[in-house]
Amino acid sequence: MAFEAKFFKARFWAECPAKFETRLKRTIITVLLFLGLAGLCGVRAVGGPSASASQADAAQESWRTEFYNICGKTEDAMTFSQEELTDLIRRCDSLQPQIEKLDESRKKVYLERLRKCRGLYAYVLDAKRKEKK
């Protein structure tokens, strides 16, 4: 009995490397594939790098669009009503925190540009209020 066991063990270890290697490889590949797929799904589900990058792009685009929408009207400032001017000033104020989050250079440039266009709307609004009086 002891001899048989010993023989079996010896045979197993003699044949093992080739069998074991292929099995091990298969298992590793399967596990890796599974992990990869799971990772990919997980990343998609929680909004991983690709999603956050596009979201950041969209956010960047949204502040810029809003900036151009607000400050692109300075030439028409005199034609606006007091309500319209008040709304433009409010939009300037709500855009400011978004610009403050940008990198140093952009922040410096766009805050100054925003300050100028907000200043103009406030100036025209003030003029209109005084005109009414």
Binding site: G72, M78, K116, L120, V124, D126
Partner: protein, 272 residues
């Protein structure tokens, strides 16, 4: 005898010194009037000398021939006072301030505009740096003022050029929009010109042309930073304030025609 001559000479020198001192204390030190090619020159030294570089010399005349005031002072964000912008090399390298145009890619008159500042600088770049960091250095410029000014209509002061007429005649075409930088806008409804009465009797009225100013500046460059008065006549402007760079003096002591050109503002014909 020699001693007497020496004493007399010393006395003459001392009295001359006293006389000059007295004269200066009464009249102040006369500022040297800039030469036509120097007028509008700005020396910028926010960080240059700290970085062992010569301060930047900025020539307004070449830039204003290509772009309106608004492009640089509103859209790009340059302050209206020298050293007021706090420009850093990193800002330029990222494509802001000077780097907006000086990026090595922009083409003006068929030429690539040289890059202002870059993150990595090698020995070969030194010459490029010197093109702007040129204060106190002998640097040859690509643009020659005399050659440039030759075909343009002349004026008496400042750069010696009539910039407005130059544009009217199509001799210069300053761009008022920089793609990707400027805010797209509708064309401006021009405000009417108006007259302002001077304080000094007999002096012709000032005719302020909104049109002339808004074409190059837009609205937000002047209001409310430079002109904060809302109702006409409520803010009193004085020539002393103006000569110190306030109100009209923000541009008309530095870049636009200077205050010595009286009749360009005091232009309303005097009624007999």
């Amino acid at each position: 005898m020699n001693r007497k001559i020496f004493t007399a000479l010393v006395l003459i020198l001392v009295s001359c010194g006293l006389f000059c001192g007295l004269a200066l204390s009464q009249t102040g030190i006369k500022k040297k009037r800039p030469l036509p090619y120097e007028y509008g020159r700005v020396v910028i030294d926010n960080y240059s000398e700290k970085a062992n570089l010569a301060p930047v010399v900025f020539e307004h005349w070449i830039h204003r021939s290509m772009f309106t005031c608004r492009v640089c002072h509103v859209d790009i964000g340059f302050a209206m006072k020298a050293n007021g912008t706090d420009i850093k090399a990193a800002d330029n390298a990222r494509g802001y301030y000077c780097g907006t145009c000086h990026n090595g890619k922009m083409v003006v008159d068929g030429k690539n505009v040289f890059q202002a500042c870059s993150r990595k600088v090698n020995v070969e770049d030194e010459k490029r740096c010197e093109r702007c960091h040129s204060y106190g250095q002998k640097v040859a410029s690509d643009f020659d003022f005399f050659q440039f000014s030759q075909p343009l209509p002349k004026e008496r002061f400042g750069n010696g050029l009539d910039w407005e007429k130059s544009e009217e005649l199509g001799l210069i075409k300053p761009a008022s929009f920089l793609p990707g930088v400027s805010t797209p806008k509708n064309s401006l409804v021009v405000q009417k010109d108006f007259a302002l009465s001077p304080k000094v009797e007999g002096m012709p009225d000032i005719i302020f042309s909104h049109k002339k100013h808004t074409v190059w500046n837009g609205c937000e460059l002047c209001h409310p930073d430079i002109f904060m008065g809302v109702k006409r006549g409520t803010v009193k402007y004085s020539m002393v304030d103006i000569s110190q760079g306030k109100s009209c003096g923000a541009c008309h002591t530095t870049v636009a025609f200077p205050l010595t050109d009286c009749q360009r503002c005091h232009s309303k014909p005097v009624q007999p």
